[in-house]
Symmetry: C2
Subunit: 227 residues, 2 copies
DNA sequence: TTCCTTATGTCCGCTGTCGCACAAAGTCGT
DNA sequence: ACGACTTTGTGCGACAGCGGACATAAGGAA
C-alpha cells in the first residue's frame, strides 16, 4: 500500500519495522494466526493455495501496491461483475446509503460484514483453484453441494444449461456428469428439477474445495452469531 | 447474512424492505453503482463474470448466509492459504494488534484498506475466470505483466519452474510459452532471468484479465491517494 | 390432441494440456 | 577445469473438454 505509510505518518511510524523477505520465505502459513501484516516495498508476495495432493495455484499477487495479511483485519462503489438470480425467492434489501452511515460508526456489525467478506474471498479463491485442477465431474458435485447448502430441502430447480453457464463449461459436459451421478444413485433429475438422494455420496465425489469453503463459512459465520 | 437482521433489530428494521427476486434477474450490473445491498433469505444469487466474447464463469454463490453487494461497503484471524515470497526484497511490517486498534476507530485508513481489499478480490475473481477460459500462453502474458507492474525495471528474476508453480501448470508448458514469446521478440530470458523487451506486445497477447485487474487497481488505489 | 418449445442424450473429430522421459546447455563449487 | 546440479528444450502417447450436429423426449399452449 504504497501511499499508506507516508500519509499516516507519525502515528504509524514507531510501529513500522523494515524486514528482509528472502526468496521462498513463507510469510504466513495456511490456517495460522498472523502476528504481522506486511506492506511490501520491493518484494512481491504470492498468495498460493496448496491442495491436499500438493498441487498448488496462485490466487493473487501482491506488490508495493498492497497488503499481505488482509485476513487480520478486513470502497469503491462498484465491482466489475454481474449478479444474476440463480433461484427465484425472497430477499431482504437495505438502503446502501443507510448502510454506509452505520458502517462509518464501526462496531460489531462492521466486524460481521468483514468476516463474511473473508468467507466470500475464500470461496472465490477456491473457485480459482478448482477451475485449474479439478474435473468437470468434481466441480459439478461441489456446485450442487454449495447450492444445496443455501436451500431448504433436497431439490434444486435449475436446468443443466444454467449450471453449465454458472460453471463456465458446455452444457453437454454437465449432462454427462449428471448422468453419471444419476446412474450412481446420488441424484435424480428431470427437466430442470434435480433431487439429491445421497448427499454424503456427492461429498465423496466432490473435490476438497467444497469442504474447505464450507468449513471456512462455518468458522467465520457460526449460526449463533450475536451482535 | 441470516443472523444480521434480527440482532441489529430496531435500528435497521425501518430501512429493511422485502423484495422478490425472479429467476434471471440482474441484481446489479458490471460497473454500476449499487443502490441497495441484498441479504437473500430464500433466493440464491450467483456472482458471475462475463467476458468480452460473452463467455462467463461463476465466481461465487451467495445464499441466506451472505450479502450481495459487498462492493458498496467492505474477521477471522487467519485464511486457508499460504503466502510465499516470489521475489526477494524489502518490506515494511506493522504489528497486527496495533493495526487492529487503529482499525477499530474506523476513519480514512479503514476505507483505504477496504478499497485495497476490493481490488484484491477483483484479482482473485479474474484468476478464477482466467483459469477456466484462457490458454496457458495468455495466462503467462498476464502473469508477466502483473509481476512487472510490481517491480521497477523490466527484468524478472525467476525460473520457469517457479512460474509454473505459481500458475499451477507444468514447467514444460511455461517453457513452450516462453519460447514463443522470445521468438516473437517480446522477451529475452536465460536461466532464471527474464527481460521484457516489448511490453505492449505482451499486453496484446494477454487475455482481457490483465487489463481488467489493472484498471480496477488504478480506479480503487490511485497513486495520489492521500489520507 | 397436436404442435412447438425446452430440456436432455449421443456421437465425432479436434486441440490444449498433462505425464513422462530424456537431451542439452548453462552455472557453481572445489 | 572438472563434476554436479540447475535450468531449459523436445518428443510422444493419453485424455478431458470443446464445438458442432443431431436425435430424442417431456411439458405447455392452442
Amino acid at each position: 500500500m504504497s501511499a499508506l505509510p507516508t500519509s499516516v505518518g507519525d502515528r504509524w511510524l514507531p510501529h513500522l519495522e523494515s524486514v528482509e523477505l528472502p526468496l521462498s520465505q513463507v510469510v504466513y502459513e495456511s490456517g495460522a494466526t498472523l502476528t504481522h501484516v506486511y506492506f511490501p516495498t520491493t518484494a512481491i508476495v504470492s498468495l498460493l493455495y496448496v491442495m491436499e495432493n500438493g498441487e498448488s495455484a496462485e490466487i493473487a499477487v501482491v506488490g508495493n501496491e498492497g497488503i499481505v495479511g488482509i485476513s487480520r483485519f478486513m470502497g469503491g462503489k462498484s465491482t466489475p461483475s454481474r449478479a444474476v438470480v440463480q433461484s427465484a425467492g425472497q430477499s431482504l434489501r437495505l438502503n446502501a446509503e443507510f448502510l454506509e452511515q452505520e458502517f462509518n460508526q464501526a462496531g460489531a456489525v462492521l466486524h460481521l460484514l468483514l468476516r463474511y467478506t473473508q468467507a466470500l474471498i475464500t470461496q472465490m479463491s477456491q473457485t480459482a483453484v478448482c477451475n485449474r485442477h479439478h474435473s468437470l465431474d468434481q466441480q459439478l458435485c461441489r456446485w450442487l453441494l454449495l447450492s444445496l447448502d443455501r436451500l431448504k430441502g433436497d431439490e434444486l430447480v435449475m436446468t443443466q444449461e444454467l449450471i453449465a453457464n454458472m460453471l463456465g463449461v458446455r452444457r453437454e459436459g454437465v449432462s454427462e456428469g449428471a448422468l453419471k451421478l444419476q446412474q450412481a444413485g446420488l441424484i435424480r433429475y428431470a427437466r430442470g428439477h434435480i433431487t439429491v438422494l445421497d448427499r454424503v455420496g456427492l461429498e465423496k465425489r466432490a473435490c476438497e474445495c467444497y469442504a474447505v469453503v464450507k468449513k471456512e463459512y462455518d468458522r467465520l459465520l457460526p449460526q449463533k452469531t450475536a451482535i
